[in-house]
Symmetry: C2
Subunit: 357 residues, 2 copies
Amino acid sequence: MTKKILVLPGDGIGPEIVAQARKVLDKVNLQFDLGLVFEDGLMGGCSIDAFGVPLSDETLARAASSDAILLGAVGGPKWDKLDRAIRPEKGLLKMRSSLQLFANLRPAILYPQLADASSLKPEIVAGLDILIVRELTGGIYFGEPRGIRTLDNGEREGFNTYKYSESEIERIGRNAFEMAMKRNKRLCSVDKANVLEATVLWREVMDRLAPEYPEVSLSHMYVDNAAMQLVKAPKQFDVMVTGNMFGDILSDAAAMLTGSIGMLPSASLDKNRRGMYEPCHGSAPDIAGLDVANPLATILSASMMLRYSLNHAAVADAIELAVSKVLDQGLRTADIMSPGMRQVGTAEMGDAVVAAL
Amino acid sequence: MTKKILVLPGDGIGPEIVAQARKVLDKVNLQFDLGLVFEDGLMGGCSIDAFGVPLSDETLARAASSDAILLGAVGGPKWDKLDRAIRPEKGLLKMRSSLQLFANLRPAILYPQLADASSLKPEIVAGLDILIVRELTGGIYFGEPRGIRTLDNGEREGFNTYKYSESEIERIGRNAFEMAMKRNKRLCSVDKANVLEATVLWREVMDRLAPEYPEVSLSHMYVDNAAMQLVKAPKQFDVMVTGNMFGDILSDAAAMLTGSIGMLPSASLDKNRRGMYEPCHGSAPDIAGLDVANPLATILSASMMLRYSLNHAAVADAIELAVSKVLDQGLRTADIMSPGMRQVGTAEMGDAVVAAL
Ligand SMILES: CC(C)[C@H](C(=O)O)[C@@H](O)C(=O)O
Ligand SMILES: CC(C)[C@H](C(=O)O)[C@@H](O)C(=O)O
């Protein structure tokens, strides 16, 4: 039985980092006879250039019929002047929404080999391993009504709607509880229930789910406090679950705690665990094509894909081990370089992971 | 000419830290013949206990007729089970909104004497001095419609409205540009214009104001990136301006970068610079009445009050110098204690500042 993977290299450094992940996937595909079949597609700026839209219906249809999607990164200054409706990000948002990829898993892990990279003191972040579960298809990102209107007094007003229904909260809540079950069984739900009604309901639903997962200890935290606690004592967290907007902010802050965002993968899953996988970092147009980008976040995204959508946990483990080995060997791309290590380019790093498999 | 100050000690540690700020204000009032007249009032849990509401109309009226308000902190577990409509925070929100205290100034300063307190590496935060200007009476905090409703399919939905009009953005924008003029002339406006229309207008208005302040260099940053950059390289910022919700999150993260949130004051100003002044930290009910809380944030809030609402910049300077002297003397409350320093209680710290004046 074959599994179809749609590969969307995207813009900027996307193509070169995705090429390394492909090398790794090709290797394990052969090695473990996984039956993976790859197709390429366009999303983001490259799709705007080719088709005039950031995500064509044809690419979306191919995505919908795939078992998983591997994405590089989208966007760049070239498309920043375009009308907002057809900017590269809109392709990403359309993909998430159309395929109902509601569960965004964003791990923030500090690799022991890269402990120095963090801007935080070693004792604060050593051993950091947080999983942020972000709701990805609802909340203020997609709430209607939205827009810019003219008020009676003649001035304009920009407006958006933040909303969550019980069923939306429940499905992301269950996902987070299940993730917590597989980890250290602590779940912190982040809201702003002292101000926002949308999150009052959020908190209520989380509390209602808790008895179904008696082994998980559920806590609640206001988003402002969560931002503070991430800076002060991030190791207090195991799994955090929150809405789309708060998740966007907190997961980036958490990723940056590690100091090596070039190492962090992410998954966006639907209810059947089909999903899109991409590195946490962006398309870094300033270093595109220079063979200096770090491909490890994309390689680790491929590993997440094998684990979550393709049911090959052992192969995922093997890739993660290979990445760890390469770090042990002292190989570093520019973004994670430190004294005494050996600096390598994008392709050489990809080759090293393949060799370590 | 006398100036009326309404003092709202609030809950938890509020009364004891405000008492220290009062000592300092009494001292400078006499020393410099400032003509300050003080009145006490209730807001928060203490007001719920006395009047059944977190902010009575009578207290609000007295606030409206004052030249400035000094607040301790509100809230505590005692009132957490109450109906949301009458919780302590609602008093705070009502005060902000009724008096149109739209400009929330939240400095994040690392005192050189407390450099070790930060969870970040010294080289990342040494000399940190950021001012966050947060819009405080609009955005999703106050947007209508809001609530929890039942959908056609029978399930409930929580919803809030995020909105900003041009005039609301303009007034906070001007405030931020003016603050930047008095500092290092760099202003970073934080939004999520790649997703939220409310912040597309925000960005447009900031750009429109920029030519009126040609000496200020204006930049824009997405909120997720801003959260990352605060962790990675906070010293890149001078003044940041943003909406109510993003400001709540980012200002708390920025405050925590210093590691000594017990040192940070805040001001909430109306268009005539009348305002409410309060420490950034909360009411810390767990240590209330134990004479261990740090009164310096409240004392520095009193100093901000003299500077912004009462036009006594020189007196404000004197208080800030006195605080710095006390730190130089090695006095520390428990929250900022470090080896070799002398630990003192709340009252002794207040006395020390008075003595240093
Ligand atoms: C590009 C942008 C629309 C996107 C988001 O805000 O979701 C990005 O920041 C992310 O986190 O994947
Ligand atoms: C208590 C709460 C309503 C308040 C807010 O969110 O504005 C607080 O967090 C603050 O920042 O002053």
